[in-house]
């Protein structure tokens, strides 16, 4: 994976994965997945992910709530009804300098970098991550987007439009 400006890309990657980890912990997940990467992309300073989500009608707070609801609903299909306290944030500290995430989140990040390169962009921005997440057809991120009434291809188009 060759990056055009390794130092700048590292800073974006650091912001993305540190943010994703914080969102994961707040939602009670040990490791960040694509849904947390999407939330972290919205927080990025370039603003492209936030604009793409707004354009597609996705409210990040509603998305966060939908993630929790999807997990609760899935547990309920097993007859398990979690108490609110069971979804408490996981408290952990990460060894410095390490980006921990699920394999799927790493694949999403690699796809985001590929989207950047395909578009001829010179730097990774949040919209690239949104495209990569919106392309997922299964899993928590896709389910939560569906639950928010978001057309994933519409979200992808909105992110593509942000890439100019």
């Amino acid at each position: 994976m060759k990056l055009r400006n390794p130092i700048r890309e590292f800073k974006t990657m650091q912001a993305l994965f540190t943010g994703a980890e914080a969102h994961a912990r707040a939602l009670g997940d040990e490791l960040p997945g694509p849904e947390h990467l999407l939330l972290a992309a919205v927080d990025l300073a370039d603003g492209s992910a936030a604009r793409a989500c707004a354009s597609a009608g996705l409210d990040p707070a509603a998305f966060r709530a939908a993630i929790a609801r999807e997990h609760d609903a899935a547990l309920a299909t097993l007859g398990i009804h979690a108490e609110p306290s069971a979804s408490a944030a996981i408290e952990l500290t990460t060894p410095a300098g390490m980006f921990r995430s699920t394999g799927q989140a790493q694949e999403v990040f690699q796809r985001a970098v590929a989207v950047m390169r395909e578009s001829g962009a010179r730097a990774l921005i949040g919209a690239h991550v949104v495209v990569a997440v919106a392309e997922l057809e299964q899993g928590t991120a896709a389910r939560a987007l569906d639950a928010c009434g978001i057309d994933r291809s519409h979200l992808r188009d909105a992110a593509m439009a942000e890439m100019g």
Partner: protein
């Protein structure tokens, strides 16, 4: 006696796989909370590992960084 939980219908893989994900998350959260309490009650890593059915190295790798400076034996 009732079944502890029901298994989603196999003809709906999406629901069944989502349930697997949710169950793993719940198990992780329970493990974190249980290990926290065990450490606070003075359990050693060896005791926790034995109770979890994993190696001491495995439990140490997953949890020790949360207890820096107040490491159990």
């Amino acid at each position: 006696m009732t079944e502890p939980f029901t298994i989603p219908a196999p003809d709906d893989p999406q629901a069944a796989l989502a349930a697997v994900v949710a169950l793993r998350r719940a198990a992780d959260q329970l493990e974190y909370a249980a290990v926290d309490h065990a450490v606070k009650q003075g359990w050693s890593w060896a005791q926790i590992a034995q109770a979890l059915g994993v190696t001491r190295q495995a439990v140490h790798k997953r949890h020790a960084h949360r207890f820096r400076g107040k490491d159990p034996k």
